[in-house]
Amino acid sequence: MGLGRSAAVVIGSFPLGESDRVVTFYTRDFGKVRGVAKASRRIRSRFSGALELFTLGELVFFDGGRSELVQVDHFDIVRPFAHLREDLERLGRAAWIVECVSRLTAEHDRHAALYGLLVRSLRALEGPTPPARVAVCFGVRGLDALGHRPRLDACTVCGRAYPFRHAALGAGGLVCEACARSETGLVLISGAAVTAFERLRLARWEEALAAPLGRSEVELGALLDLQMSRLIGQPTRSAKFLRELKRLEPTAGGRP
């Protein structure tokens, strides 16, 4: 109850009533917080553009304690991350990151490491690193931070030590070929991808962004989306968005 104040990132919003908006923040000090921003959809709102997706700011809110929703008092922009909204690939990758954070965290559950990872990832997306790589680095470390690091040193069913041939990935980690016959929902994972996963997890952030991964990057991207989707309980929406963009992308001839 009372006033709360924290650095926070806007990770979602939807309209409420005539002109209000419910905004979801991921805050440094309180974890996920959802609040009502009164009259924020009016074209001359006192929030103006501050509540746009991905904006990092200083949030002041009032928690009356009677509802799940707090009242958003102020949100002062610290860094708008506007470039993420000016490029569709960056937008899609940034959306995937905030979707994972938004859907895999509980309200008012402080998680400073995850908050740090979120801000670091958005910052990297504005830099020269290809957006797909930033998403992969977030995914590897995000699973870790959320307590869902897949086991990659042994088969999660029989305990046989890795390496083994034809490894598959399940919800909890690797499954060997013998055990894979009786398991469902598995996908194959290459030895290179297992190595790359461990490498990205242990490397310093800047090193992880720059490490050469070759074709493992695409494979890891898909595997991480699958792991996140499993945890969420349904396919991620931003991955669908990215797929559709790719499919309709104008080719050299101008025809989609």
């Binding site: 909204r85 929406r237 968005f241 559709e244 309709l248």
Partner: protein, 200 residues
């Protein structure tokens, strides 16, 4: 809600599904309607059914209309060389209120939204391309909302349309970022239309 008579509970439940209406408002509206004269309520219910029966989407521009093609598409005085792309029929009405625009429209019926999983396939994008390939359009004005979804939609369409049409413009950012076009006042919208620019 077991203590309400069944028809009352049913109406409250139906009203609650409308955007911006919570359980309290739904109850208030239901008891308000109960007190009104029968013919007034009948008129309301008939107009609800009529909207669903008689109103369709124009197959050319996807505006809501009671005749297909709609009056705007059928009007020979509207300039066929200018095509203004908006998200929703309400945005089209807002543009019309400026009284400044004499071209034609295309309503996308939404905007790209990665967080809601709305991609180009969910919008009237293919239909827009077909209209442009038919040939008459010389300028496409992207008048989607100045928020994340609207900007993403404008970016996407600009990329897609630039090889196909002479000029692709975006309404100026005289409008504050983060708002809904629907709520813009006429002056702001006139200014935005005046200041439109080629999108890079």
């Amino acid at each position: 809600m077991a203590y309400y008579p069944e028809p009352v509970a049913r109406l409250i439940d139906a009203l609650q599904r409308l955007p911006g209406i919570g359980p309290k408002t739904a109850q208030r509206l239901t008891f308000f309607l109960l007190k009104r004269p029968a013919d007034e309520v009948r008129e309301l219910s008939e107009s609800l059914v009529a909207v669903k029966d008689k109103i369709v989407y124009c197959r050319t521009c996807f505006n809501v209309t009671d005749e297909d093609p709609c009056r705007l598409c059928a009007d020979p005085a509207r300039d066929a060389r200018l095509l203004c792309v908006v998200e929703e029929p309400n945005d089209l009405l807002a543009m019309e209120r400026t009284g400044e625009y004499r071209g034609r429209y295309h309503v996308l019926l939404g905007a790209l939204s990665p967080l809601d999983g709305v991609g180009p396939d969910d919008l009237k994008v293919r239909e827009l391309l077909a209209r442009i390939e038919a040939g008459a359009v010389e300028e496409v004005i992207l008048a989607t909302n100045p928020n994340v979804e609207g900007e993403a939609t404008a970016l996407y369409l600009a990329k897609l349309l630039r090889p196909l049409v002479l000029r692709v413009t975006r309404i100026a950012r005289g409008l504050p970022v983060g708002g809904d076009l629907e709520y813009a006042d006429q002056v702001t919208l006139s200014k935005a239309l005046e200041g439109r620019r080629e999108i890079s």
